[in-house]
Symmetry: C2
Subunit: 213 residues, 2 copies
C-alpha cells in the first residue's frame, strides 16, 4: 500500500479535521498517510509573496520571535518532530492530542498544551524532553517538510498528496470519526482529483458558505 | 424542473467550458440553466477590494474606457443581453458562438466577433442592431446580474448556483460535448456541494496542476 501525505499546521482547524479523517482510515488499515508540516505563517508571509522559493523560513526564526501564530506554530512543529522520534503511533497520538486540545477543547497552543498532549499520547516524557533539546536536528527535519511543501506549492492545510502525485487543499467544515463517513469523504476527494474533467478548483461563493452539521 | 444558474464572463476560458457542459445537459433535457453575467474586471478591480458591496461597476463605465478586458467584456455582455431579447435559444446560441470564436478559434473579443456570433446564431440582424442601441436598458439588465453576483459573493467563472442555493466556482481544464461525460462532471460537482463533509474548497496545489486531456 503506497502512502498518501498530509501537510498540516497545528493552528488550522481544517487541518485538524483532515488529520482526524486520515486517522480513521489509517486505523481501519484502508489508507496510509505520512504526516508532514506546512507553515501558514511562512506561506502567508509578505516577504514570500510572489517568490518562486521562500526567502522567509519559519525555521530561521528564534522561538520567541514574531506574533502569536508564529511562536505557537514553531513550538508545536518542533515538539511534534521530537514526538515522532518515539515512532509512528506516538507521532499520530501526539499530533491528534495537540490538535484536539486547541480546536476541540479551545486551549491555547502553548507549552502547557504540548506537555498535556505528550502525556495524553503516553510519550516517554524523559525521552521527549531530551529530544526537544536537540533543536538543530528538529529544525532541520521541519525545514525539510517546509521545503517539500514549497516545491509542491502547498498554500493551505490540510493538503493531501495522493500516491500518484495529485495534491490539493481539502477544506471541509465537519468532523467525522465514523469509518463509513470517512470513506465517503475520502473517496469524493479522490474522484475530484482523478476526474477526466481536469478539475482545478471547486470553491464556494463567498456568501454561500458550506453548511456545518 | 427548477433551474440552475451559471454566472460567466466571455473573457474566461473556464466559463466557456462551463457553458458547453451546461448546454449538453440542457439540450438533453436533463438540467435547466439560467445565463447570468459576472464581470472579472469588476470583481478584481482594486477599488472593490475589501468592499462589502462593489463601488466600481462595469456598467458605470463608457464603452471605450479602460484596458482591453474591460472594453471587450462590456461590449460582449451588452451584445449578449441584446441577443437574449430574441429568446432563450438565441441567447444560448449567441453566447456559445462568441465563446467558441474567442476560446476555440482564438479570435479577438471585439465587434467583428460579436457580429460573426450573431450570424452563427441566426439572429435577426436588424432586430439585433436596433436592440443594441437601447443601451440604457441593456446596461440596467447587466447591472442586475452584476448586483446578484455580488450578493452571492461570486469571485470567478463559471460559478454555478444550484436550485437549493448552493453556489461554487467550478474550474476544470477539459472540454466535453459528450452527454455521458457531461453527466458525470455535473454529478461530481453536485456531490461535492451536497456532501455531509461541508466541503468549502478543493483546490490543487500550485505546482501540481490538473491534467489537460
Amino acid at each position: 500500500m503506497t502512502s498518501n501525505t498530509i501537510f498540516f499546521d497545528f493552528v488550522c482547524p481544517y487541518a485538524w479535521r483532515g488529520l482526524e479523517l486520515a486517522q480513521v482510515l489509517r486505523k481501519a488499515g484502508e489508507q496510509q498517510f505520512t504526516l508532514k508540516h506546512f507553515s501558514l505563517v511562512q506561506g502567508n508571509h509578505p516577504d514570500n509573496a510572489g517568490q518562486k522559493e521562500p526567502v522567509w523560513w519559519l525555521t530561521d526564526q528564534p522561538g520567541d520571535a514574531g506574533e502569536r501564530f508564529q511562536k505557537s506554530s514553531l513550538l508545536a512543529f518542533l515538539a511534534a518532530v521530537a514526538a515522532a522520534r518515539q515512532g509512528e503511533e506516538a507521532s499520530w497520538e501526539f499530533s491528534l492530542a495537540l490538535f484536539r486540545a486547541v480546536h476541540e477543547d479551545k486551549k491555547s497552543l502553548d507549552e502547557d498544551a504540548v506537555m498535556a498532549a505528550a502525556k495524553a499520547a503516553n510519550l516517554d516524557l524523559d525521552g521527549f524532553a531530551a529530544d526537544r533539546k536537540d533543536e538543530d536536528a528538529l529544525r532541520a527535519s521541519l525545514r525539510s517538510d517546509l521545503a517539500e511543501s514549497a516545491e509542491i506549492g502547498v498554500f493551505g492545510t490540510p493538503t493531501f498528496v495522493l500516491p500518484g502525485g495529485e495534491a490539493a487543499y481539502y477544506r471541509f467544515e465537519n468532523l467525522t470519526r465514523d469509518l463509513e463517513t470517512a470513506r465517503q469523504w475520502w473517496k469524493l476527494y479522490g474522484e475530484v482529483l482523478h476526474s477526466g474533467a481536469g478539475i482545478a478548483t471547486i470553491k464556494r461563493a463567498k456568501n454561500r458558505p458550506a453548511k456545518k452539521a
